[in-house]
């Protein structure tokens, strides 16, 4: 089973302490997904 998942990039948060962009979304079963896109 192949699928793709699109997440809203506006939900991403910059973490200045660790200098990283954090995208914490709904849990995704990796065996079911081929592409995860984060878009505006």
């Amino acid at each position: 089973m192949a699928d793709s998942s699109t997440k809203n990039l506006s939900d991403a948060k910059y973490d200045s302490v660790n200098d990283r962009l954090a995208m914490v979304g709904a849990l995704i079963n990796l065996p079911d997904v081929t592409k995860i896109e984060f878009s505006k």
């Binding site: 990039l9 910059y14 973490d15 200045s16 302490v17 660790n18 200098d19 990283r20 962009l21 954090a22 995208m23 914490v24 979304g25 849990l27 995704i28 079963n29 990796l30 065996p31 997904v33 081929t34 592409k35 995860i36 896109e37 984060f38 878009s39 505006k40």
Partner: protein, 161 residues
Amino acid sequence: MGYWCNLLQGRGDQTCFYSTGEAKTMESKAYQAYLHQREATIVPMQDGSKLAAVEEVRTTVDLQSHPVDLHVMPNCGAECQAAGRYLNDDGLVLDTTANQNVYQLTYSHTNATAQEVPALLTLTVTRQENGKATNIDKELVNQNDVLAAVYISNAKALNLD
């Protein structure tokens, strides 16, 4: 040569740095440790300290009941890219054939400038044909086959802040 980022949270004031291969001196008191990720890589990781505090995780077996995070650290030319491989099994099985999921991970976004933040970040997950846990219900070995969060390291230098 390239960027390195410390994945352990809030430790040290050099979260990310550029190295040309020189030696780095860092404090190493009993409570100080570092885990640096090299650019162009993707690595799976679980925050054991947080899971111990919030979910009462105590052992590596306990960790298998919780989803994983992916840490992406791109290398930028015209495009920013990273790649990695993630293997997941129950940690006990000797014959991993049909008992292990093997994922090839690639990431890309258009190189950003301060004026133009990329509109699309793409993470591609490809399971190897000979790396599928078909012996296991729904091919989910455990919760380590579930993705919780994606982190893009060195975000400020990539204009993703």
